[in-house]
C-alpha cells in the first residue's frame, strides 16, 4: 500500500499567495511609466503566483477576470525529442492515450465533463513538452482540477484504448502527411536533415509501423518515467481567486505520488560546419518547394534575443527583407513563411532549434539560384549593422506579437508562455522580462549573431520536387 501524506507546502512563494488578504483586482497588463534608459513605451506585465507542491508539481496561477472563464494547462516535461528509439511517434501517441480515461473518470468522461460545462479541451506534443489544456467557464474549475489530477495519478491504458488510438493517430498522420502535398515538408524534413543527434533528427510524427508496434507495457513504462508531478507544471489563468484555487490544487494534486528523478539524455548538437542539402520527390505536389534552416543560438542568451529580432527583420511580415526580395522584387513566390520553431514559437522549446523558412515556387528555378537569392539578403545583415530605425521596428513587432500571444480569447498563448518559463526556467514571472531581453540587443550583437548563425555552412536546404504524376492546376 502506498502511504498518502498531506504536508502543507509553505514555500516562500506559497506563503505570498496564501497569506495575502483579498487583493484588489490587478489588471494583467499594466502600463508602467516609460523606462527612458531602454525606451520601452509599454511593458508586458502579467501577474503570477508560483507554488511548488511537495511532490514537485509546479503550480502557476494568474488572475485576470475580464471574461468568466478559466484556462487550465498541464504541461509534462516530455516531448517527442526524447521518445524511445524504435518507437518514433510514441510521445504523440501517448498524448492521445492520456485522453482515454482514468480510474475515477472512465473513457469519455473527460470530454463529457469539459463539453457539458461549456468548455473545450485539447493537447499537443512538441519538441520538449506535451500539454493538455482546457478552457472552461469559471464554475467548472474545481471539477477540471479533480479530473486532471486523476489523469495525472491513474490513467487507464489498456489494449482496447491503445488499439483505438493507434487507429486515430494513423489517420492523423495520413490526413496531415501521407495524403497531403508537401506533407512533412518542411516541419519534419528540415529537423531530420539539419540535426545530427538522433533525439533531434528522427521522424517525430512517427513511422506508421512503429506507431502500430507500440504496446501497453511501453505505455506504462513511459508514463512511470515521465508523467510524474515532479516533471510537470500546472497553469491556471483567468477568472480565479488565488486562495480557493490553491486549496483545490492541494486537495487534488498533493496526493499524486512523486516519481523518481529523471535523467534526461544529451540532446545537444555539434556546431554545423558544412552546408547540407536534401531533396525528395512528392508525387502529390504540383509545384517545387524550397526550404532552408539554420541552427539558432541557445534559448535565453543575448544572441538568442538578437536572433529573434533578426527573424523579425528577415522574415516576419510583408515589411521583412526576405518578403521584399523573394516576393516583391524577384517574384519567386507569393509568400514566405517560417521562424524560430516551426511548430510553436521562439519561447516554448528547450534545446537545439532551427530558424527556418520555406516557400513554394514555379518550376524552372534552380535551387542554387534560390539559395543565392536568400543568401544575398542574409549577407547584408552579416556585413552591415542594422539601422536603429529598423531595430526599433523589429522590437515594436515583437512587443505587439507578445500582446497578441497573451490576449487571446482562450488565453492559450498566456498559459503556454507561463508553462514554458516554469518548466524550462523554473521562473514563470520571467515572461515579464522578455521585452527587456529584446530591448538590450545592440546593432553590434545583431551583426555578430548574423555572422555566426546565418553563415552558409550553418544552413540545410531541403527541396521538394513535384512528382511524375503532378499536373497543372485543374478545376472541378
Amino acid at each position: 500500500m502506498r502511504l498518502v501524506t498531506r504536508i502543507t507546502v509553505c514555500l516562500a512563494a506559497a506563503l505570498a499567495a496564501c497569506a495575502a488578504p483579498q487583493r484588489p483586482v490587478t489588471p494583467s497588463l499594466a502600463v508602467p511609466p516609460k523606462d527612458s534608459a531602454l525606451a520601452i513605451p509599454t511593458r508586458l506585465q502579467v501577474e503570477t503566483r508560483y507554488v511548488t507542491l511537495d511532490n514537485g508539481l509546479r503550480v502557476v496561477m494568474s488572475r485576470e477576470p475580464s471574461v468568466p472563464t478559466v484556462t487550465v494547462g498541464v504541461y509534462y516535461g516530455i516531448g517527442f525529442r526524447i521518445e524511445p528509439r524504435n518507437r518514433t511517434g510514441f510521445a504523440h501517441l501517448f498524448e492521445h492515450l492520456m485522453f482515454q480515461g482514468s480510474a475515477n473518470a472512465p473513457k469519455g468522461a473527460f470530454d463529457t465533463l469539459i463539453y457539458r460545462s461549456g468548455g473545450v479541451n485539447n493537447g499537443s506534443t512538441t519538441f520538449d513538452y506535451t500539454n493538455y489544456y482546457e478552457i472552461v467557464p469559471t464554475n467548472a474549475l474545481e471539477a477540471v482540477l479533480w479530473i486532471e489530477a486523476d489523469r495525472m495519478a491513474r490513467p487507464v491504458i489498456d489494449e482496447a484504448v491503445l488499439k483505438n488510438q493507434q487507429g486515430v493517430v494513423g489517420n492523423e498522420v495520413k490526413v496531415n502527411v501521407l495524403n497531403q502535398p508537401y506533407g512533412s515538408w518542411p516541419w519534419i524534413d528540415l529537423p531530420m536533415l539539419a540535426n545530427e543527434n538522433w533525439f533531434n533528427s528522427h521522424n517525430f510524427y512517427g513511422d506508421l509501423k512503429e506507431i502500430e508496434a507500440a504496446t501497453v507495457s511501453d505505455s506504462k513504462e513511459f508514463f512511470d518515467k515521465f508523467y510524474r508531478p515532479n516533471n510537470a507544471v500546472l497553469v491556471i489563468a483567468g477568472d480565479i481567486e488565488y486562495e480557493q484555487t490553491l486549496a483545490w490544487v492541494r486537495q487534488y494534486f498533493d496526493v499524486v505520488p512523486k516519481g523518481a528523478a529523471i535523467s534526461f539524455p544529451d540532446i545537444s548538437e555539434p556546431r554545423q560546419t558544412a552546408e547540407k542539402f536534401a531533396s525528395r520527390i512528392d508525387k502529390l505536389a504540383p509545384k517545387p518547394g524550397y526550404a532552408v534552416g539554420y541552427h539558432v543560438p541557445p534559448r535565453g542568451t543575448a544572441e538568442w534575443y538578437a536572433m529573434g529580432l533578426l527573424d523579425q527583420i528577415l522574415l516576419q511580415g510583408e515589411d521583412s527583407r526576405l518578403y521584399k526580395k523573394l516576393v516583391q522584387e524577384a517574384g519567386v513566390t507569393g509568400s514566405v513563411s517560417g521562424g524560430i520553431n516551426l511548430i510553436g514559437n521562439m519561447f516554448d522549446y528547450n534545446g537545439p532549434m532551427l530558424w527556418a523558412l520555406s516557400f513554394v515556387h514555379d518550376t524552372g528555378r534552380d535551387p542554387k539560384e534560390l539559395t543565392a537569392l536568400v543568401d544575398s539578403v542574409l549577407e547584408e545583415l552579416r556585413t552591415n549593422p542594422v539601422t536603429q530605425e529598423e531595430l526599433e521596428r523589429a522590437r515594436t513587432k515583437v512587443r505587439s506579437g507578445l500582446y497578441d500571444l497573451v490576449d487571446s480569447g482562450t488565453r492559450f498563448g498566456l498559459i503556454d508562455l507561463l508553462a514554458a518559463y516554469a518548466l524550462f526556467d523554473n521562473n514563470p514571472g520571467g515572461i515579464n522580462d522578455i521585452e527587456l531581453g529584446f530591448a538590450k540587443v545592440t546593432p553590434q550583437q545583431m551583426l555578430a549573431t548574423a555572422q555566426e548563425y546565418l553563415r552558409p555552412s550553418n544552413r540545410s536546404v531541403f527541396i521538394i520536387e513535384p512528382g511524375p504524376v503532378a499536373v497543372e492546376a485543374k478545376t472541378p
Binding site: 465533463l113 479533480w146 487507429g167 489517420n171 490526413v175 507495457s217 504540383p286 507569393g334 505587439s400 490576449d407
Partner: protein, 478 residues
C-alpha cells in the same frame, strides 16, 4: 521471451516507483459538481452611420494596449459573377500600393504601428484588417482609408499577383479537401450562381487583366457597402475624429448586392453521390450535405444543437463512434454554413480508405438513431451548455468580437441577436433536437462527395443500403 522480459521490466518499475495502478481509489473524492455559469453579456457597442452611408461599430474591450480594426466591404465572390476569383485578385491588389505609397512602404508603415495589413476575401466581403499598438489607432485608420479608397492598381504588380494566384490554385487543388468542397458546391448551387464556382480554371485566372480589377473595384467599393469595426483599447472621441477625417468624403458608391442562390437540395433532387478519383489515396475525403435552416429563421437554433450533438462537438455521437470507438478517422466534424438566403449543413471526415463504407454506415446509423429516439436529457442539455460556453469564448477577444458582429451584420440579423442567443440555445429540448434531425437530415435527399481511391472505395459505397438506387457520378477533375 521478448514479451516475458518486457513484463518483468514493467513489474520491477512498478515496485520501485509506486504509481498508476496502485493509487488508493477509495480515497479519491467524487467529481465535484459543476454549478451554474456566471452571467455573461457581450460587450456593449457604439454604432453610428456617416452621411455617406458607411457604418461604424466601436467595441471597447480587451486587455492588451492594442486596437484591432476591420473594414468590411460588401464586395466578395458573390460579386464575381462568372469571373471567379476576380474579388480575390482585387483584394490582393489593394496592398500593392495606395495613394502613392508602394507595397513596401504600406507594410513598413503598418509594422511601425505594431501591425500588419491583412486583406481577406470571402463569399460576401473583402475585409481589410489591422491590429496596432493603441497609440497608433488614428494612423491605422488613415492607412485603412488609403488602402480601401486609393489603391494604385499598378500593372507590374498585377502580373506578379496573378502568377501567385495561379500557383496558389494549383497547390490548393492538389489537396483532397478543397476538391471535395468544390465538387459539393457545384452540386448544391449549380454553375449559374457564384457559390457553385469556388475555383476558377487556370486559363480563366490567366486571362484577367488589371482593367478587370479596376472595373470590379469601381462596381463594388464605396461607403454604402462599408462597415468599420473597431475593438480593443482606444479613445472613442479620438477614433471618431480620425474616422471622420479619413472616410467622410468617400463616395457612397453602389448598393449592396442581394443574390440568394437556388440550392439544388431536397427530395426532388434525390440522393446523389459524386466521386473524385485519387488513385492510391490512403484515405477517403468525405463531405455529406443537407439543407439547413437559414440564420434567424425558426428552427435555426434547434438545428445548431442538433449539429453539435450529432457531429459538431468533439463529444458528439459520430465523432465518438467513428473516432473514439472505431479509430476510422482523426478529425470528423460538421458545421452549418449560413449565408443570406442560404444555409447548408456539411459533415466532413477523412477516413481510412478500406473502411469508407463502414464509416458511412456508422454515420447513417447515428443519423437514423437520433431521428428515431430523442436524446437523453443530460446529453441534450449538455450540448446547449456547450454552445453557450463556446459563444462566450468566441466573443472573448477583440478579433473574435469583430468576427462575430460582422457575421451577424452580414446575415442581416438584428442587434438583439447576440443577447438572445444564450437563452435561445438553452431553451432547446431533446424533442426539438429529434424533430430537427428528422426534418433536416432526410437521407433520401443527401448529397455525398467522396475524394479517394475509387478502385477501393466504389464497391464499398455501392454495398451500402442507404445508397442503393442513388445517382452515382464520377466527376473529372476539370
Amino acid at each position: 521471451m521478448m514479451l516475458r522480459s518486457l513484463f518483468a521490466a514493467l513489474s520491477l518499475a512498478l515496485l520501485c516507483s509506486p504509481a498508476a495502478a496502485q493509487a488508493p481509489l477509495g480515497t479519491y473524492p467524487n467529481q465535484p459538481a459543476v454549478g451554474a455559469p456566471k452571467p455573461y453579456a457581450v460587450p456593449r457597442t457604439q454604432n453610428y452611420t456617416l452621411p455617406n452611408g458607411m457604418q461604424i461599430t466601436l467595441i471597447p474591450s480587451g486587455l492588451a494596449p492594442k486596437t484591432t480594426m476591420t473594414l468590411a466591404i460588401a464586395a466578395g465572390n458573390l460579386n464575381d459573377g462568372t469571373s471567379t476569383w476576380l474579388a480575390d485578385l482585387t483584394g490582393a491588389m489593394l496592398k500593392e500600393g495606395a495613394n502613392g505609397r508602394s507595397a513596401g512602404q504600406l507594410a513598413q508603415a503598418a509594422a511601425n504601428m505594431g501591425g500588419a495589413l491583412d486583406v481577406g476575401v470571402g463569399w460576401g466581403r473583402t475585409a481589410i484588417s489591422i491590429a496596432v499598438l493603441k497609440e497608433n489607432g488614428p494612423d491605422a485608420i488613415a492607412l485603412l482609408a488609403d488602402v480601401a479608397r486609393r489603391p494604385d492598381f499598378a500593372t507590374d504588380a498585377f502580373a506578379r499577383i496573378q502568377q501567385d494566384k495561379v500557383r496558389d490554385l494549383a497547390v490548393t487543388l492538389s489537396q483532397p479537401q478543397p476538391l471535395a468542397v468544390a465538387v459539393m458546391a457545384r452540386a448544391v448551387y449549380g454553375t449559374a450562381h457564384p457559390y457553385g464556382r469556388v475555383y476558377p480554371t487556370e486559363k480563366q485566372l490567366k486571362a484577367f487583366t488589371i482593367e478587370d480589377v479596376k472595373r470590379f473595384y469601381s462596381a463594388n467599393f464605396g461607403a454604402e457597402r462599408a462597415h468599420l469595426y473597431i475593438a480593443g483599447q482606444f479613445d472613442a472621441g479620438t477614433m471618431r475624429r480620425a474616422i471622420e477625417a479619413a472616410f467622410d468624403d468617400w463616395e457612397s458608391g453602389p448598393a449592396r448586392l442581394i443574390l440568394a442562390p437556388n440550392a439544388q437540395l431536397g427530395p426532388s433532387f434525390g440522393r446523389r453521390v459524386l466521386l473524385v478519383d485519387r488513385p492510391g489515396a490512403p484515405q477517403s475525403t468525405l463531405q455529406l450535405a443537407f439543407a439547413a435552416p437559414q440564420a434567424g429563421t425558426p428552427g435555426d437554433i434547434a438545428f445548431r444543437v442538433t449539429d453539435a450533438l450529432l457531429s459538431g462537438a468533439f463529444n458528439s455521437r459520430i465523432t465518438t463512434n467513428i473516432r473514439e470507438e472505431k479509430g476510422y478517422t482523426y478529425s470528423p466534424g460538421s458545421s452549418i454554413q449560413q449565408r443570406p438566403g442560404d444555409a447548408l449543413w456539411i459533415f466532413e471526415a477523412d477516413v481510412t480508405s478500406d473502411v469508407t463504407g463502414k464509416s458511412l454506415h456508422e454515420i447513417f446509423k447515428e443519423i437514423k438513431e437520433l431521428q428515431a429516439v430523442p436524446p437523453p436529457r443530460d446529453e441534450a442539455a449538455g450540448m446547449s451548455t456547450w454552445l453557450s460556453g463556446v459563444f462566450v469564448l468566441r466573443h472573448a477577444s477583440p478579433a473574435g468580437l469583430i468576427g462575430e458582429l460582422a457575421s451577424r451584420d452580414a446575415l442581416g440579423l438584428p442587434a438583439s441577436w447576440l443577447d438572445s442567443y444564450i437563452p435561445s440555445v438553452l431553451s432547446v429540448g431533446a424533442a426539438d433536437i429529434q424533430a430537427s434531425a428528422k426534418e433536416r437530415l432526410t437521407l433520401d435527399s443527401l448529397i455525398l462527395v467522396v475524394v479517394g481511391d475509387l478502385r477501393t472505395v466504389t464497391p464499398q459505397l455501392k454495398a451500402l443500403p442507404e445508397l442503393r438506387g442513388a445517382k452515382f457520378a464520377v466527376v473529372k477533375a476539370e
